[in-house]
C-alpha cells in the first residue's frame, strides 16, 4: 500500500493558497485505509484515535483488532496493537488489561466477530466486568468475506447466504448483543451510536470518550456499538446506504445510551428491548 508523504503534500497545498481547516490526529498513521468509501469504519477509527490523542494516552493504549473488515486496524492506529483470532478479542484484551492494568485497552470488532463466533468471549468478558472498552461495529452483514448473513442481519434482509431474505424459521432472529450485555452486572456503560451524519458523529465521539474515561474508574466494561452502513455489501451507494440504515437498521437497533454509570438509562426498558421489541420485517 503506497504511503503518501502527508506533511510534504500539506506544505505544497498551503503554498498554493489553501487554508488548513482540519488536521488528522497523530494517533492515526499515514497508511491509506483499505475501507470502502462511505463505510463507517474510517470515521469510527478517527473518533477513537482523536479520543486517545485528546486524553493523552497514546503511550498507554493497546488495541486488539478482530478478523473481519477491520483485521488490519493495527496499520491505521499509531498505538501498540494485537491482531486476535476470530472472535477472541475480548479474551485477548482481558489478559492485556489484567497483566497491564495501567494500560488503556480496547477491542475493535464487527458483528460476525463479536456476536457470532466470539459470543462466549464477549459475554464472559462483560460478565467478569473487565475494565476494557469494546467497540462493536454493526453493519448487519459479513463485509470482508463478501456479504454473507451476520447474527445482526435483519429479518427479510438479503445477503449472499440468504438470497431470498433472512427467514426466522430458517435462520433465527437478529441478535441484539448490546441490549443483552446491558443486563449483565459486569457492564458499566452500554450504548449504541451511529456515524452517518455530523450530529451522530459528535454523539458517537462523546460515547467513545466516556468508554475510555471509564477505564480509570475500574467499575466494569464499557461497550459502544456503532451502527454502520456496508454500502458495497448492501450493494448501494453510500448515500442510499445511510438512508437505508436509518429506515431499516435503526428501528431494530435504536440509537442511544442503554446503560450509564452502571444503571439502565432513563426511559430504557431493557425487558422490552430484549424480549418484546417488535422486529421489523423488511419487504
Amino acid at each position: 500500500m503506497a504511503n503518501i508523504d502527508i506533511e510534504a503534500r500539506k506544505q505544497e497545498l498551503l503554498k498554493e493558497g489553501y487554508t488548513e481547516v482540519y488536521t488528522k490526529t497523530k494517533v492515526l498513521t499515514d497508511a491509506v485505509m483499505h475501507y470502502c468509501p462511505g463505510c463507517g469504519h474510517g470515521t469510527t477509527h478517527r473518533l477513537i484515535a482523536e479520543v486517545i490523542d485528546e486524553m493523552g494516552i497514546q503511550d498507554k493504549t493497546v488495541g486488539v483488532s478482530p478478523v473481519g473488515c477491520s483485521v488490519l486496524a493495527y496499520n491505521y492506529f499509531d498505538v501498540d496493537f494485537q491482531e486476535a483470532a476470530h472472535g477472541r478479542a475480548p479474551a485477548v484484551a482481558t489478559a492485556v488489561k489484567r497483566l497491564n492494568p495501567e494500560c488503556y485497552v480496547f477491542t475493535y470488532q464487527g458483528d460476525g466477530d463479536l456476536a457470532a463466533i466470539g459470543t462466549a468471549e464477549t459475554i464472559h468478558a462483560a460478565n467478569r466486568g473487565e475494565n476494557i472498552t469494546m467497540i462493536f461495529v454493526n453493519n448487519g452483514i459479513y463485509g470482508m468475506t463478501g456479504g454473507q448473513m451476520a447474527p445482526t442481519t435483519l429479518v427479510g434482509m438479503r445477503s449472499a447466504t440468504t438470497p431470498y431474505g433472512r427467514r426466522v424459521d430458517l435462520n433465527g432472529y437478529p441478535l441484539r448483543m448490546t441490549e443483552l450485555l446491558a443486563t449483565l452486572p459486569g457492564t458499566y456503560y452500554v450504548t449504541r451510536q451511529s456515524v452517518q451524519n455530523p450530529g451522530a458523529v459528535r454523539k458517537a465521539k462523546a460515547a467513545i470518550r466516556k468508554a475510555f474515561e471509564n477505564q480509570k474508574l475500574g467499575k466494569g466494561l464499557s461497550f459502544v456499538e456503532i451502527l454502520s452502513n456496508c454500502n458495497s455489501g448492501w450493494k448501494m451507494t453510500p448515500v442510499a446506504a445511510n438512508k437505508w440504515m436509518e429506515d431499516n437498521m435503526m428501528p431494530n437497533y435504536p440509537v442511544g445510551d442503554i446503560k450509564v454509570d452502571g444503571k439502565i438509562a432513563e426511559g430504557i426498558d431493557v425487558n422490552r428491548l430484549v424480549l418484546d421489541h417488535p422486529l421489523t420485517v423488511m419487504q
Binding site: 503511550d59 496493537f81 482481558t94 492485556v96 489484567r98 494500560c103 468471549e121
Partner: protein, 360 residues
C-alpha cells in the same frame, strides 16, 4: 518458597514452578487429570505475594487467547490443560507460533479420541510435534518423566520460549500429573521488572513510548512473497533448535543389545522393564527422549548403530515410532509396544513385548 524437600503431585509441581519461576500470568479451564494446577495456584494466591495473575477462563479457547493477549505484552504467561482441552486450543497455538509469542503450555495427556477417558495416555504425540493446528510451525516440546522434571522444565521452558520467541509445550500425562514424588523446590525468581520486560521483550505491546514506532503482534500477511520469507525465518529458527536444544538421556546403552525408546511415564515403565531384563541377563538399555521437538535424531541414530533391535514404548497406537524409524532410517529392527485409551502398560508386559517382538 526457598529450596525445600517436598512430597508433591506433578500437577502441583507445575503450579509451584510457575510461581517460583516468576510467571506473570496463568489462564486456565478445569479438566481432569490436570485440575490441580489451577486449584493449587488459586490456593496459593500468588497475586498477594509475587503479583502473578491467575484467572479461570470460560473455555480453553478463551484461556489460550488470554495467553496470547498477555504474552504479547512481553510477560511470562502460561496455561495448562489435558488432551480434549488442548485440541480446543490448537487455533490459539498456531496463532501464537505465527505471531512468535513466547509462552508455556502444559498438556497432561489423557486417553482419546473424543471425550475418551480421564486416564493417562500419550496419544497426543502427533498433535504436539507434527503440528496440531494449521501451517508450518513447531512447538518446542519437553516431556517430563518425574515430578521433579515437571517442576524444573517450567524454568527451562521460559528460557527457551524467550530465547526463540516461540511457544513451549510441556507434554506430560495423567500418570506424572497425579503421581506424588519427592521434589526439591528452588528459590523464587522474581517476576521481571518493567525494565527487564522492556529489555527481554522489546517487541511487546504494552504502550508505545515516544521513541519507537508502534509494536504490532499479528500473524497476518496478505502478500504471499512476504509470508514465504517469514516462513523461511520460522524454519531457520526450528533448525537452530534442532542444532542446539536437543535433550535426551541414555541409561545402560553402552553395552546394550536392545534398547527401549520412550518418553514421559512410559520411560519410567521401560526403565523398570530394563532392570527386570538385566536381572534375566538380557542386555537392555533405555534411550529417553526429553525433547520431542527437536527430536534427538542424530543421537538416536548413533546409539541404534550398536544394537540389534529397538522397542518403542508409548501409550498410543504407535506415533513416536515414526520419528524413531526416520532417525535410524529403518536400519535396525524397530517395533512399537503400547497400551492406549487410558491403560498403562506394566513393566512385565513391556519386557514380554521385547522378548516376543524383537528378540525372537
Amino acid at each position: 518458597m526457598a529450596r525445600e524437600l517436598k512430597l508433591m503431585k506433578g500437577n502441583e509441581a507445575i503450579a509451584q514452578a510457575m510461581i517460583a519461576s516468576g510467571t506473570d500470568g496463568y489462564f486456565g479451564y478445569p479438566i481432569t487429570p490436570q485440575s490441580e494446577v489451577m486449584e493449587t495456584l488459586m490456593a496459593e494466591k500468588p497475586w498477594e505475594t509475587t503479583g502473578m495473575v491467575v484467572l479461570q477462563a470460560e473455555s480453553e479457547v478463551s484461556s489460550i487467547n488470554m495467553v496470547y493477549g498477555g504474552a504479547a505484552t512481553g510477560k511470562k504467561v502460561a496455561t495448562s490443560s489435558s488432551s480434549p482441552g488442548i485440541s480446543l486450543m490448537q487455533e490459539g497455538l498456531t496463532y501464537l507460533a505465527g505471531a512468535e509469542i513466547p509462552c508455556v503450555i502444559v498438556n497432561v495427556m489423557r486417553g482419546g479420541p473424543g471425550l475418551g477417558t480421564i486416564q493417562p495416555s500419550q496419544s497426543d504425540y502427533f498433535q504436539s510435534v507434527k503440528g496440531g493446528g494449521h501451517g508450518d510451525y513447531q512447538l518446542y516440546t519437553l516431556a517430563p518423566a518425574s515430578v521433579q522434571e515437571m517442576y524444573d522444565f517450567v524454568f527451562d521452558a521460559w528460557d527457551i520460549a524467550f530465547k526463540y520467541r516461540n511457544p513451549v509445550l510441556i507434554l506430560s500425562d495423567g500418570a506424572i500429573g497425579q503421581c506424588m514424588e519427592k521434589l526439591y523446590t528452588r528459590d523464587n525468581i522474581a517476576r521481571w521488572t518493567e525494565e527487564e520486560r522492556r529489555k527481554n521483550a522489546p517487541w511487546g505491546t504494552f504502550g508505545k513510548p515516544a521513541d519507537r514506532g508502534h509494536n504490532i503482534i499479528t500473524s497476518l500477511e496478505l502478500e504471499s512473497a512476504r509470508q514465504e520469507v517469514f516462513n523461511h525465518k520460522l524454519q531457520a529458527k526450528y533448525a537452530e533448535m534442532k542444532e542446539k536444544e536437543v535433550r535426551f538421556e541414555t541409561i545402560n546403552c553402552e553395552d546394550a543389545d536392545y534398547i527401549f525408546v520412550a518418553y514421559g511415564s512410559s520411560s519410567r515403565i521401560a526403565m523398570k522393564a530394563m532392570q527386570m531384563a538385566r536381572e534375566k541377563g538380557i542386555k537392555v538399555g533405555l534411550f529417553r527422549l526429553i525433547t520431542l521437538f527437536p527430536f534427538p535424531t542424530k543421537q538416536l541414530a548413533e546409539v541404534a548403530k550398536r544394537v540389534k533391535g529397538i522397542l518403542c514404548v508409548e501409550m498410543s497406537a504407535g506415533q513416536m515410532i515414526e520419528d524413531v524409524k526416520l532417525a535410524t532410517e529403518c536400519n535396525v529392527k524397530t517395533e512399537h509396544f503400547g497400551r492406549f485409551g487410558g491403560i498403562i502398560p506394566t513393566p512385565t508386559e513391556v519386557l514380554e513385548a521385547l522378548e516376543n517382538k524383537i528378540i525372537k
